[in-house]
Amino acid sequence: MFRARRAPLRLLLALLATVLVLGGCAQASYDNPVPGALPIPAVTETGAMANDLYRFVLVIATIIFVLVEGLIIFAVLRYRRRKGDDGLPVQTHGNLYFELGWTIVPFLIVIVLFVLSYQVQTKVDARSANPGLTVDVTGFQWQWTFDYKDQGLSFTGQGKTGPEMVLPTNTVVHIRLHSNDVIHSFYVPAFFFKRDVIPGVDNAFDITITNAGTYTGQCAELCGIGHADMRFSVRALAPADFTAWVAQAQEAAKNTPSPPPSGPAPSGATVITESAASAAAFDKKDLEAPANTPFVIAFSNTSPPGVPHNIAIQNPAGGDFLFNGQPLTQPGQTVNYTVPALPPGTYTFICIVHPTTMTGTLTVK
């Protein structure tokens, strides 16, 4: 009797295990994650805890799912009215003990779930007094800037893949979130975490990454037409490699040219003007320039604070840009980009920070 009762339970557990294994496999690639019943394996300490919590909730939910759907399907099959059977079934109005049972048992289950959640939540929300590294994240329509203030490094996303945040593993990293325009959300699926980036709110969180690797992230809060373009990536390095990377990046930053003068353009060259009042579009979509001679684009950025732009001219044949105006023009600045001589033709120019929304046509003749 006792043994006979256990068989269905074992079957249920076996079924559950199959579902979990089938659903959870093949998550190898973080930049092209294969969907399954389990989330992408978390690579942070707290993410792993939350991942385990997810598994626990999934097991409970699956048991309830199988039980209740089983009851529904059983009732549907077992109690369908047979032909010619027009008598009334027993008119049961209720049963106090059953009703108390299915109130109290779920109540106890949710209390357990709440307590477990609360414990993990405390760890996810914990702050270290001495983080090993602080990174300031600024989200703006529709890119990210990552500032390493203590290291004197700053990276603004360019192109459709966005910026890369390089972090050391096994180190508490303190990440502060800022926005000057609308709400964004800093979401890295491999962290099993996101936090909103809200103008006027100083949000921050701590993470400790356990596995070296590259993990993609993107904005998770609707922020306008370029929302899907707000991608970025996180590259986690062993602490020694990270120190080496910082030194290298600082060296590279020293070697980039300082901002060009925003004063008068070089004499003799043709000067054309362009401006951008927002990240949605250039103010002028069509520009004209002389052929076979260098010319200057005087570019004014009149966008809200925190939103840089530039002008980059695409090669009609594909490949690298013919011209990529560097450094970026910050809001309030006017920068003269000197473009090398171009043969006659029609070119597409974009803002490298907003490649989807800010495009225009340059006619050279």
Binding site: E69, F114, T161, P199, R231
Partner: protein
């Protein structure tokens, strides 16, 4: 049957268009509500097909998606807004309008003219909302319209203002309707129709109207503030001018979460009418069900910030606890429905098919909601396709399935004609399979990190499940064809249905199909929440009795 049609009063004849335009009859108004809501459902469905078509293919870093982001954002904003405010809400208001006075033995609503007003606001506010498409772009900040994105600086078009105005008028209609239904339920019940003999549908409508009266004014105030921000230099929600961006979310969700229960409680009511009738048993645990409905109504006002866990500025523990708690009374209902079917004699006519489809789907929507109550899990899944899946399992697998059940169930009462069973079964299976195909894969996409509201995605690994979802969406669209054909052909047949074709329990089945103006010429005696059952089988074995309408309340208003 105990009743007959009242002899028509002699009088002048009016054209039927004039009659429908000027009617204050709750049944005609109810039918107009339901029809309008179905039209908006088809519009909202078309917008959804656009969304799903766009997501058919992954977009490489250099390519561009089928629908440009500027239009895509309008599609999902208008889809959500339409389905919530112009499909489910007026639909349930319509069924409440039609059914509640009949079920409580009243002649009409308490305020018939206000009833007509609250209906006529709906199509006009819907047109206001949709006119954005023709005036330079509809609203595109999401159905939640989070500030500051919805501020004039970031959404300069008139579409957002039309969205605000459309919802303000829509809310006015809801409040008028809610007060009307509350007064009707409290004051116009027939003698003997005590509160604990009210059909469950009436109870769920009652609690829903209370939620509306408390929640909708909060949304209205938020909308007014946003309108002032956008047009008159206010700065309630603009941090750049000293406002608070999170304030909008608090205001919106203080309305928005009770709204979820506004959309689902009457659906619970429908299911609690259909399952007992088609199981030939009473609802298991009638009083527990009322208690659970009230508990959901109260707890529903204490969970709003679970939409905002990722903002980092809400008291996580409190909202996590209340969110877990609210699953308990919802679970109670699920068990009540299953126990109602237990040892019954189940008839699988279309209303019952949709009711079982509701049980199977809504259970998924309830269970995947529990993940969001767990804050560390919610940090990952919020604002991903997991949430899209969850909300559609609740609103489509829940509300929409119940609306279909209600349509098939009350159609013979409304029109005296029975919708075809075979077409109804085709409709059910297409819709049920389409629903699972569309929304189940979204759980997995969310876990793989796909955010909601993105016009394009790069990972090719997300493409197969997105294509499954798109096929599902078009399957749902296909299910509308047998449904509409069914309605079209059935309405052309003669009205030949008896008063009580389903062998049902509640008072609307004690009058003719369709009922005469002012509903009843006499009412059966009321001994329980199943007066028509008592009439057929006797209350506790007693003989059927009928009382004339002259002594009953709820005379012509």
């Amino acid at each position: 049957m105990a009743t007959t049609t009242l002899p028509r009063a002699a009088g002048y004849t009016r054209s039927s268009i004039y009659e429908w335009l000027t009617t204050t009859d709750h049944k005609k108004i109810g039918i107009m509500y339901v029809t309008t809501a179905y039209i908006f459902m088809l519009l909202g469905g078309l917008l959804a097909l656009g969304i799903r078509a766009d997501l058919w293919t992954a977009t490489s870093a250099t390519g561009s998606s089928l629908i440009p982001a500027a239009l895509y954002n309008q599609l999902f904003t208008m889809h959500g807004t339409t389905m919530i405010f112009f499909f489910v809400m007026p639909m349930l208001a319509g069924f409440a309008n039609y059914v509640v006075p009949l079920q409580i033995g009243a002649a009409d609503m308490a305020f018939p003219r206000i009833n007509a007003l609250s209906f006529w606001i709906i199509p006009f506010s819907g047109i206001l909302l949709f006119s954005g498409f023709l005036l330079g772009g509809a609203a595109s900040a999401g159905w939640t319209s989070y500030a500051p994105l919805s501020e004039a600086k970031y959404s300069p078009g008139i579409g957002q203002d039309l969205w605000i105005l459309g919802l303000l008028f829509n809310g006015m209609s809801s409040i008028l309707g809610a007060i009307n239904l509350l007064v009707t339920i409290f004051k116009l019940r027939a003698p003997g129709m005590t509160m604990l003999r009210l059909p469950i549908f009436v109870w769920t409508v009652l609690v829903t109207q209370v939620l509306l009266v408390f929640a909708v004014p909060v949304l209205a105030s938020g909308l007014a503030m946003l309108f002032i921000d956008r047009n008159y230099g206010g700065s309630f929600f603009d941090p750049a001018a000293g406002g608070d961006a999170v304030l909008w979310q608090h205001v919106f969700w203080f309305f928005g979460h009770p709204e979820v229960y506004i959309l689902i409680l009457p659906a619970f009511g429908v299911i609690s009418e259909v399952i007992p009738v088609f199981s030939s048993k009473p609802l298991f645990g009638y009083k527990a069900f009322i208690l659970a409905t009230a508990a959901i109504g109260i707890l529903g006002f204490g969970v709003w910030a679970h939409h905002m866990f990722a903002t980092g500025v809400v008291f996580l523990a409190f909202f996590s606890a209340t969110t877990f708690l609210i699953s308990v009374p919802t679970g109670v209902k699920m068990f009540n429905w299953v126990a109602t079917m237990w040892r019954g004699k189940l008839r699988f006519r279309p209303p019952m098919l949709f009711a079982v489809g509701f049980l199977i789907s809504f259970l998924i929507g309830g269970l995947d909601g529990a993940f969001s109550a767990s804050t560390p899990v919610d940090f990952d899944i919020t604002d991903t396709y997991w949430v899209v899946s969850h909300l559609h399992y609740v609103l489509f697998g829940g509300s929409a399935m119940a609306i279909m059940a209600a349509t098939y169930y009350w159609f013979p009462k409304m029109f005296g004609r029975m919708l075809d069973d075979r077409l109804g079964r085709v409709h059910f299976w297409l819709m049920f399979i389409g629903l699972q195909l569309t929304f189940f894969p979204m759980h997995l996409l969310g876990l793989a990190g796909m955010p909601r509201r993105i016009a394009e995605y790069a990972p090719t690994a997300w493409q197969p499940l997105n294509q499954v979802a798109t096929i599902g969406a078009f399957t749902i669209a296909a299910s509308m064809l047998p449904f509409l054909w069914n309605i079209f052909t059935t309405l052309r047949r003669p009205a030949d249905q008896p008063d009580d074709p389903w062998d049902a329990y509640t008072l609307e089945w004690a009058t003719t199909s369709p009922p005469p103006p002012y509903n009843f010429d006499q009412l059966p005696a009321l001994h329980s929440e199943r007066p028509v059952f008592d009439l057929k089988h006797g209350p506790h074995g007693g003989a059927p009795v009928a009382v004339p309408v002259a002594v009953s309340g709820g005379g012509p208003a």
